[in-house]
């Protein structure tokens, strides 16, 4: 009984955060802010659903796999976001108007693009 409540809570919370991650892509103003939503909420959502799987099955091999999946997600999701954000910044994708860019950033990172709003 209590187990069922815990499982339902985990699955529902996971669904909620997955929805947030998806909605974030639609609603947030520019690519870098969207990456915030997908990495954080998306990782938490998949972590919660894996926690539900581990608690629900409760045997060693399932738990080991769930832990491995979560570890790999935590390793790969930020790297993917980092690469997308880096590529966007380097190729001069337009950022949201209020964005304040550190004046040295482009020079130090060796970016040749100029003339995007919010900087320079």
């Amino acid at each position: 009984m209590i187990l069922e409540w815990v499982l339902s809570a985990l699955v529902l919370l996971s669904g909620f955060f997955a929805l947030i991650a998806g909605l974030g892509i639609l609603r947030l103003p520019d690519v870098l802010i969207r990456m915030h939503a997908t990495t954080k909420a998306g990782t938490l959502a998949s972590g919660l659903v894996m926690a539900a799987v581990a608690v629900g099955f409760g045997d060693a091999s399932t738990i080991a796999r769930a832990v491995a999946i979560v570890l790999f997600l935590m390793l790969t999701a930020p790297v993917a976001a980092h690469m997308i954000g880096r590529a966007a910044f380097r190729s001069g994708v337009k950022l949201w108007e209020p964005t304040v860019i550190d004046p040295d950033a482009r020079a130090k990172l060796g970016v040749r693009h100029h003339g995007t709003p919010g900087g320079d």
Binding site: I20, L28, M35, G85, P98, T99, D102
Partner: protein, 157 residues
């Protein structure tokens, strides 16, 4: 590191004596061995094993806490109609040394509230992050330096 090997040996011994060669049996043996070694810590002067395990646990727990906080923050930002963020790209000087430390710090920063690693300079000592609330860049630098970066350096030291 030798205490770690000793701990594994104790776990195997426990599992063998109890006749429970399962993951659960080995885990119980490992936990009991850890406590036993902690009790006789003074026999191994200069050992950093327990402190190191403790700092890793601290890093893991604090990181999960931050991940949950940041997810709620993102949820709030997505669900409320007005965008209240004032984003910016901020440079953060890194004290972390070596590629493993830098990788761990940048990965964890991406998953904690308000910051997303964007790029690292060639010499690995300045990190550029995209911050959701960049009114005060110095505050963000301090937060990273005294938070995630310090925990990572303590754990890997």
């Amino acid at each position: 590191m030798s205490l770690f090997l000793l701990n594994i040996l104790l776990a195997v011994a426990w599992a063998a004596l109890m006749g429970t060669f399962t993951v659960g049996g080995l885990a119980t043996g490992f936990a009991l061995g850890f406590v036993a070694l902690w009790v006789v810590q003074s026999l191994f002067p200069g050992s950093t094993y327990h402190g190191r395990v403790w700092r890793w646990l601290k890093l893991i727990v604090l990181f999960h806490y931050e991940l949950i906080v940041s997810s709620f923050q993102v949820a709030w930002d997505v669900l409320t109609p007005t965008q209240r963020s004032r984003p910016g790209i901020v440079s953060v000087p890194l004290k972390a040394e070596g590629e493993a430390e830098v990788l761990l710090v940048t990965n964890l920063i991406s998953l904690t509230p308000g910051t997303l690693s964007l790029d690292v300079t060639e010499d690995c000592n300045t990190l550029y992050v995209h911050a959701m609330f960049a009114d005060d860049p110095q505050e963000i630098r301090d937060q990273i330096e005294n938070g995630m970066e310090r925990w990572v350096r303590e754990a890997l030291a």
